[in-house]
């Protein structure tokens, strides 16, 4: 106790290396394990799937990505290099607010470009909202959005992927959107 502390030289590299290795093993190991664990779940043909209050019939050959789907909130389907993400959120603001914010997120946050103007859409089930196309350096996509002010909810459908096979995949996406309604039990 009654001795001063002394500046005794010591090596820190074994300890520092151990810390570095522990972090690398933990983070790298988990990431590696995750990447090598398949996350696809085949969906039964013709059966309706749900994401929040949105429900629709998946097109043939599309599978669920379980790791990027959040129960009761979002559902990610994929086929080849194309994705179809349906997300639902609460919304209590005006009808145009989410669209403006989404475009800002894509243009300023994700560095994507808008392709043409925003247009209205309506499906055979009467689902209506706004849509726009976009593109980036490696992908292109189309975004649909439905604001349900009565239920105070927002449904966003984001379809995107590589240019190869885009036409066919977009047709699948449109058919899935066409089958969609917002009547899923909560």
């Amino acid at each position: 106790m009654n001795e001063p502390s002394r500046r005794i030289p010591y090596r820190t590299w074994p300890g520092a290396l151990a810390v570095l290795l522990a972090i690398a093993a933990y983070v790298g190991g988990l990431t590696y394990w995750d990447r090598h664990t398949p996350g696809n779940r085949p969906l039964p043909a013709g059966k309706t799937v749900e994401a929040g209050q949105a429900r629709f019939v998946p097109a043939e050959g599309w599978e669920m990505d379980v790791s990027r789907s959040k129960a009761g909130q979002s559902l990610m389907l994929f086929k080849g290099g194309h994705k179809f993400l349906v997300s639902t959120f609460p919304w209590a603001g005006g009808p145009d607010g989410p669209l403006v914010r989404q475009q800002r997120l894509m243009e300023r946050g994700q560095r994507l470009q808008m392709d043409g103007d925003v247009s209205d859409f309506i499906t055979s089930w009467g689902l209506q909202g706004k849509t726009f196309a976009y593109y980036g350096s490696k992908l292109a996509g189309r975004f649909w959005q439905v604001v349900d002010q009565r239920r105070k909810s927002l449904v966003q459908i984001d379809f995107y992927g590589a240019s190869d096979g885009m036409e066919e995949a977009l047709a699948d996406a449109r058919s899935m959107l066409d089958s969609m309604d917002l009547e899923a039990p909560q």
Partner: protein
């Protein structure tokens, strides 16, 4: 190595007589010749780039939230630091130790926590189900990843300047700072993210809502408390070299498990069914879930403060025996930061703000005098603090006497 011995000099003041051994003093936290220092700095800088990228994205998408969030959480950090300072906890180390600890928590640990948490939740979704992740994902991923990463920073800091850590308290405060860094940056990140999906166009409400829920209702029993608990194990391991290695490791692991368990309970859906979604009931639930962490962390702080008190008393008895420098009542309170704070407050009430400020400075200078004397021995290096104590007392005593 010869153990240095302090012998009283002509004035009865102990000095360092040993000149043959390693240089007297404590290592600074700037150690460019130590690998641990560069690992710590490299990982912090790496995290800084990541955070700057994420924040710049938030700034472009929700600029009002990002800027207001930065301001609000900055002030929040300052309040914590002020509280630590009020309890004299920041006297344990030079400021760079706290900067490094905070930066590790907020930059180094956060950078690695993100991919690890995503991987664990993704694996749970793949191996169990997305429904399972929605309920248990945060409890499974967050605690193990975040407690582990924050603690790695504490270990790196101990490696950088081992002889700075002579008491439990000196380790615990670094752990608390690392936890605070993690907590604040995580809160800022959640604030920006929640604004992107907030159910209104308004960019101010997300900041206020997060400040209320994450800052006020959850702030005390969050990362700073967990890392304090886990750091106690590191402190025990470090300060009990005479104990068997198995026992030291067991205590370190036990404290880590305790921190993990508190964090797990907090992130878990326990009790959520018993309360509705209202803010009043949510507040009650958060208090109930957070209480175990704050009690355990409080107990550890108490043990550490008591040990620190014993340490200070022993040092003061040997190195600063003059009663004009540390009077009897001040000596008794050396190891009791709350009592010291109470005295300052009472001084303010009775004799005014200036007396309180002088008393605060006096107490700080006494602590610095003891610590510097313990590090280098009494002599020219402690003269500045001795003079400061005498000068402050010369200003304070007339104020007290005038009132009496």
């Amino acid at each position: 190595m010869n153990a240095p011995v302090f012998e009283p000099n002509d004035q009865g003041i102990p000095t360092n007589q040993d000149t043959g051994a390693w240089p007297v003093g404590t290592d600074s936290f700037f150690q460019p010749r130590r690998v641990a220092f560069w690992v710590l700095v490299a990982l912090i800088v790496n995290g800084l780039f990541y955070l700057a990228y994420m924040f710049s994205m938030g700034l472009r998408v929700v600029p009002v939230t990002a800027l207001m969030g930065l301001t609000v959480w900055g002030i929040y950090t300052l309040l914590f630091v002020l509280a630590f300072g009020t309890l004299d906890l920041l006297e344990q180390h030079p400021p760079e130790a706290y900067v490094l600890a905070f930066a590790w928590g907020g930059l180094g640990a956060v950078y690695f926590a993100a991919p690890a948490n995503i991987a664990i939740q993704s694996l749970c979704a793949k191996l169990v189900s997305p429904e399972f992740v929605a309920v248990w994902g945060p409890a499974i991923a967050g605690p193990v990843t975040e407690e582990f990463l924050k603690l790695m920073g504490v270990i790196l800091l101990v490696l950088v300047a081992r002889n700075q850590f002579q008491t439990y308290l000196s380790v615990l405060i670094v752990g608390a700072m690392a936890g605070l860094g993690f907590q604040v940056i995580e809160n800022l990140s959640y604030t920006v993210r929640s604004s992107i999906h907030f159910p209104l166009e308004n960019q101010v409400y997300p900041v206020l809502l997060n400040l209320f829920t994450r800052g006020l209702l959850s702030g005390l029993w969050s990362h700073a408390a967990y890392t304090t608990i886990a750091s106690f194990g590191v402190a025990w391991f470090l300060l009990h070299p005479q104990r068997p290695m198995a026992a030291r490791i067991a205590v370190a692991v036990l404290c880590f498990v305790l921190a993990w368990a508190m964090h797990f309970i907090w992130n878990s859906p326990f009790l959520e069914d018993l309360f509705d979604g209202g803010y009043g009931e949510m507040a009650v639930m958060l208090v109930i879930k957070g209480l175990p962490a704050i009690i355990v962390a409080g107990l550890f702080w108490q043990v550490a403060a008591r040990e620190n008190g014993t340490y200070l008393h022993a040092l003061a008895a040997w190195f600063v025996p003059e009663r004009d420098l540390i009077r009897d009542d001040e000596w008794v309170r050396l190891g009791a930061p709350m009592q010291r704070y109470k005295v300052r407050r009472e001084m303010g009430w009775t004799h005014g703000w200036r007396a309180r400020r002088l008393k605060t400075h006096l107490q700080r200078e006494q602590l610095r005098l003891i610590r510097k004397a313990a590090t280098y021995g009494r002599g020219a290096q402690t003269l500045r603090h001795e003079l400061a104590v005498r000068r402050l007392r010369a200003k304070l005593d007339p104020i007290i006497e005038a009132k009496a």
